[in-house]
């Protein structure tokens, strides 16, 4: 090796420097990508939560309206005392997420309507109580937060809402 080339190579990056540099870059890239995916997933979960929340409260309003404004349902004790489930509802739409359909089905139902009677009053019942539930399992994006590797299904979520109301008139 000529003297001139040795002069050129003095102070240049050697194998160890390059390996250390590559490691640092790899850590940065992995960290950034993970943050992006984690944030994305958190956002998607939040969207699902809000969609389910409004669907659930809408379902409860409909059920309350049935009881308040329909004599048929008011007199149907069987209907009042049994759990009522809404038909399957999806939290995502087909054009969501670049056309990739991740079916996130939510199960929305209410418990039996409770007739609350306060013993110190002469009214019976004093008011009615409805308790609604929304339950679904999140899809795990990019393997983050994955609980079952085979089914690609993430954590379970649920919302419970409660409302009390009076019959009109």
């Amino acid at each position: 090796m000529s003297k001139r080339i040795r002069q050129l190579e003095r102070g240049a990056a050697d194998l160890v420097t390059i390996a250390v540099g590559l490691t640092i870059i790899a850590i940065t890239v992995i960290g950034t990508s993970y943050s992006l995916l984690y944030g994305r997933q958190a956002l998607v979960h939040q969207e699902h939560y809000r969609t389910a929340l409004y669907k659930l409260r809408g379902f409860m309003e409909e059920e309350m309206a049935r009881i308040k404004h329909s004599t048929y349902y008011q007199n149907d004790l069987n209907w009042l005392n049994q759990r009522n489930t809404l038909e399957a509802f999806q939290l995502d739409v087909p054009t969501d997420r670049d056309g990739r359909i991740r079916e996130t089905d939510v199960r929305i139902y209410r418990d039996a309507i409770e007739f609350v009677d306060v013993v110190t009053t002469s009214v019976a019942p004093d008011y009615l109580r409805i308790v609604g539930h929304a339950e679904w399992r999140e899809a795990a994006l990019a393997g983050i937060g994955e609980q079952d590797e085979r089914t690609d299904v993430g954590p379970a979520r649920s919302i419970k809402l409660q409302a009390t109301f009076l019959l009109p008139g």
Partner: protein, 283 residues
């Protein structure tokens, strides 16, 4: 190879393995590695920014729909009735807002001193309160609810305050273009959302119990309003070198139902019910 050797020899180089400092093979490998790094870096940066834009607009859509749902539920919940002037994909709803004096501590009063109902009403009920047979104990009047695909939900033909009217919080297709010099230019004209459809309907319309309700069927049918908001965002990349796709469409559907507390027959002396529904003007 012999030709290459001859050319190198003419240039004063006797071996191709050791040209001036770097060999030809080294140069080729370095160019290959360098171009791979540049191409990969560019692709990663490009895709990261696209994903960032998509996530940002999706967050905006979600936030907007969340505000819209909350505000519309509140407004419809405290209304005393609504008239659907036109239905379909672009409904125009005339909502009667009234406050029974002292109700809810005056929280939904439009008078600033008593409450904070945020929209102007036409004071229908207030102006008629001295007419014979029209006496009532309410304030309020009508507001109009409609939407524009490129501006979102409109109340009284204006973007309501919660839609970021003052702060330009949401970027619509109908929004003014941002000044790339003085304002944040990270988002361009493609980063804009639209309302694909906004519908109001009555979910108890097909309830099997309606057939058994007799005269009360209408009351039951119109006791619940369902609002559905479909928001869409489309991002089309202009370059042809898209790696993960060139046309992104994101869509969100939000839906909820409202059974107004002040529904016509839930309360006594509902002037909207008395003057519009009972009189046969609408129903």
């Amino acid at each position: 190879m012999r030709f290459l050797t001859r050319v190198l020899r003419k240039a004063g180089l006797h071996r191709s393995e050791r040209a001036s400092g770097f060999t030809l093979y080294q140069q080729m490998i370095q160019v290959f590695i360098g171009s791979a790094i540049l191409l990969g870096g560019w692709a990663a940066y490009r895709d990261l920014t696209v994903q960032w834009r998509l996530a940002n607009v999706e967050r905006q859509m979600d936030q907007y729909a969340h505000s819209a749902m909350g505000e519309l539920v509140n407004t419809l919940q405290w209304s005393v009735g609504a008239q659907l002037l036109s239905s379909g994909r672009n409904p125009l709803l005339r909502i009667a807002i009234g406050e029974f004096i002292g109700e809810n501590g005056g929280l939904n009063s439009q008078e600033a001193s008593q409450g904070h109902f945020p929209y102007l009403t036409d004071n229908y009920f207030t102006t008629n309160q001295n007419q014979a047979g029209q006496e009532h104990r309410m304030y309020g009047g009508f507001i109009q609810l409609t939407h524009n695909a490129n501006r979102g939900i409109l109340i009284n033909n204006r973007e309501p305050y919660w839609a970021g009217r003052e702060a330009e919080q949401y970027i619509w297709r109908g929004s003014r273009l941002r000044d790339p010099v003085r304002e944040m230019a990270a988002f361009d004209r493609r980063d804009r959302m639209t309302v694909k459809s906004f519908t109001v309907d009555f979910p108890l319309d097909r309830d099997p119990a309606l057939a058994n309700e007799g005269a009360g069927a209408g009351r039951m049918k119109y006791s619940v309003m369902r609002i559905t908001l479909v928001m869409q965002y489309r991002y089309q990349t202009t370059d042809w070198t898209g790696i993960y796709g060139e046309d992104y469409i994101r869509e969100r559907v939000y839906e909820t139902s409202v059974c107004p507390l002040n529904h016509g027959q839930s309360i006594e002396d509902n002037p909207f019910f008395r003057q519009f529904i009972q009189s046969g003007i609408m129903g």
